[in-house]
């Protein structure tokens, strides 16, 4: 891989180490983390950085995920730049404190390695864990490869700490497919990151210019106002991501499309819609199908929360049919989460595109080229007016 702008070195690292590097170059003051399964090796890499004297951060090795998050909430309220990491059951055990961070408007950045939830007893890959916490007020960014993990973390701090936003960001990467996959990753220098990510003044405990208080709020009027402002900041974060990406590209020479990436969508008649590591596989299928003369494109969603409705409407406006790949099940609603979101985003907003949902990749099941080829073939059939099944469980086949 060529060395690009502001890269200090290129190293072949796992997704977890890339996440640790992502945190490292942003110089967090406090890292609160539960060090045991379902934690990933992120924690080992971070403690190694500290032991080697490369990272000057306090690390709180908590006795459970709930207190890991509580410790970063306390530190962030006190003005520290904070980082955390978890997955699966750890995320659920963190839940009580996880939901407090957005309400307190704290710019915490963490990573989640997307995995199954128990029971049954597995922590293999899927999006099921993170989908259970989509409506908590955290910004959720999903990535496709190891480089994107590191870059998304740097951008996450910029968005989180922006005075107009002040919300926590969870950078989500697929367990095993990315967490333990090794790829060459450009690691930027700390100086370059410092230039891109200056420290912002914000309300903190004991801060000189402003009072910070996280208080019990009983009156419904006040509650509504807090919620309204939170929602407003979430809306603003969509545009913020676009701006931050542009600046990131100027500093580091890489960009990912902001809220979503459109791949070969210019003249696409049908499209695939997915999120996470299998977007890489989908890209290969799109190329192959294009060679066979099928006008197919790919929309890779990056920002799941807030949901980028405007960008989705624009990206899909000329498409005749859509094949959605979901790596999670929205229990009680026939399909998966992406499908559900897309229907709300498109239908009733002038874009009633026929679409089919494919539930795939549960419990670490591979989402292979043949599976995605099938999605493209059937989506082509839908565009041609053929009968189709709304929800298909590829995971069962």
């Amino acid at each position: 891989m060529d060395m690009v702008q502001n890269t200090e070195k290129v190293e072949v690292v796992s997704g977890n180490k890339s996440a640790a590097y992502g945190a490292y170059v942003c110089s967090p003051d406090v890292i609160g983390i539960y060090p045991i399964t379902p934690q990933t090796s992120v924690v080992e890499d971070l403690t190694q950085f500290i032991a080697d004297g490369r990272l000057d951060a306090e690390i709180v090795e908590a006795e459970g995920e709930i207190s890991a998050m509580a410790s970063v909430i306390g530190a962030s309220a006190g003005g520290a730049r904070t980082f955390s990491s978890t997955s699966s059951m750890g995320l659920f055990f963190m839940f009580d404190s996880y939901i407090m961070a957005p309400l307190y408007r704290l710019p915490i950045v963490m990573v989640n390695s997307n995995r199954e939830l128990l029971p049954p007893n597995t922590v293999a890959c899927s999006h099921q864990d993170i989908m259970e916490v989509i409506e908590t007020g955290w910004i959720h960014i999903h990535v496709e490869n190891c480089q994107e993990i590191l870059d998304a973390i740097i951008m996450a701090y910029r968005i989180a700490e922006d005075p107009e936003i002040l919300l926590p960001v969870d950078v989500c990467y697929d367990g095993f497919y990315l967490s333990y996959l090794r790829e060459p990753v450009n690691i930027p220098s700390i100086e370059a990151v410092n230039n891109f990510l200056p420290t912002q003044d914000r309300p903190t405990l004991g801060g000189p210019n402003n009072v910070f208080s996280c208080i019990y709020c009983g009156a419904d009027q006040e509650m509504a106002e807090l919620r309204y402002r939170q929602q407003d900041a979430m809306e603003k974060s969509k545009e913020k991501l676009e701006q931050v990406e542009q600046e990131f590209a100027q500093h580091f020479g890489r960009s990912y499309g902001g809220q979503l990436e459109e791949y070969r969508m210019e003249d696409a008649e049908i499209a695939l819609f997915c999120m996470g590591s299998h977007a890489g596989t989908a890209r290969v299928v799109v190329d192959q199908k294009r060679e066979q003369g099928i006008k197919v494109g790919l929309v890779k969603l990056r920002m799941f929360r807030p949901f980028p409705q405007e960008r989705v409407l624009t990206a899909l406006k000329n498409v005749k049919a859509l094949g959605v790949i979901d790596r999670s099940v929205a229990f009680g609603w026939k399909g998966g989460h992406l499908y559900r979101e897309l229907r709300s985003a498109l239908y009733g907003h002038g874009l009633e595109i026929p679409m089919a949902d494919y539930i795939a990749g549960l419990g670490g099941h591979d989402i292979t080229i043949p599976l995605i080829e099938r999605v493209v073939d059937e989506t082509k059939g839908i565009a041609e007016g053929k009968q189709y099944q709304e929800i298909t469980w590829l995971a069962l086949e």
Partner: protein, 266 residues
């Protein structure tokens, strides 16, 4: 009935390492159930997560394999809804006393008729050998390469102080005691704690240079003694085995039924 009648053979081979003490506990726990002639359909096993907690998958009882640390909380619900069933909870030391510590002390206090088995290997086996609140000081674990400085809980004192009405301890070496104490515990009408020192050669043994499983079992023979023995007087370092408390007190489900009665009368 032969012991293997109580096993769900389709889940074998089991996940335990060769020499793990948890298998000895399983074997002798089943002997206790067998000797008491408890109907399999009236036994409920509730466990959390860990190597020890895997036991619930291997036995042909009603079973709930729940969340790490929460076995007693789930079991409380089971017993409240079906007080006639016999409920047993095998737990690891981390499961019972780190993440599940709060449930543990409150279960002792409440005195509901449940049997808690703590399989104490002084380490987190399943997740790769991190130290637990039972490791004690001077122990090498993956999370303590320079040895632990944390002091350990004494499960017996903790259970006694928290109000458990049956409290016993033995080791994987003393397998007959396992059967006997579990039998007593299952028959005891209140909350019972049976601590069983159970070797983890893979993580605890290897990292702390305690040799293989046989050596670890020998160690249990050498460094434990019966309660109040002469050996203990000579060498206070020895760990005592035996029944530390066996007394009756109002049982929670019975009290609850009584409460309902009172409320309905008034």
């Amino acid at each position: 009935m032969a012991i293997d009648q109580y096993l769900r053979k389709r889940f074998f081979p089991h996940i335990w390492c060769a020499g793990c003490g948890h298998g000895i506990v399983l074997n002798n726990m089943l002997r206790a159930v067998d000797q008491l002639q408890i109907n399999q359909n009236e036994m409920v096993m509730v466990s959390g997560i860990g190597c020890s907690s895997r036991i619930s998958g291997y036995v042909d009882f009603h079973s709930l394999h729940t969340l790490h640390g929460r076995a007693l909380a789930f079991a409380t619900g089971v017993k409240m809804s079906q007080p006639n069933l016999t409920v047993i909870c095998p737990m690891g030391d981390g499961d019972a006393l780190a993440i599940g510590g709060n449930h543990f002390i409150h279960a002792c206090r409440r005195n509901m008729d449940l049997t808690a088995i703590v399989m104490n290997n002084r380490i987190y086996g399943m997740t790769g050998g991190q130290f637990s609140p039972l490791s004690g000081t001077g122990i090498t674990a993956t999370t303590s390469p320079q040895k632990t400085i944390d002091r350990e809980f004494d499960i017996i004192s903790l259970s006694l102080a928290s109000g458990a009405t049956f409290v016993a301890r033995t080791t994987a070496y003393h397998y007959k005691e396992i059967t006997n104490y579990i039998k007593e515990a299952l028959q005891h009408p209140g909350f019972s704690v049976v601590e069983i020192l159970s070797q983890c050669p893979t993580h605890f043994g290897r990292r702390n240079k305690q040799g293989d499983a046989t050596e670890m079992l020998q160690r249990y023979r050498q460094n434990t003694t019966s309660i109040g023995s002469e050996a203990k007087q000579k060498n206070p370092e020895l760990i005592e085995r035996g029944i530390f408390r066996q007394e009756t007190a109002p049982e929670y489900c019975a009290e609850y039924a009584e409460l309902i009665n009172r409320a309905q009368q008034s």
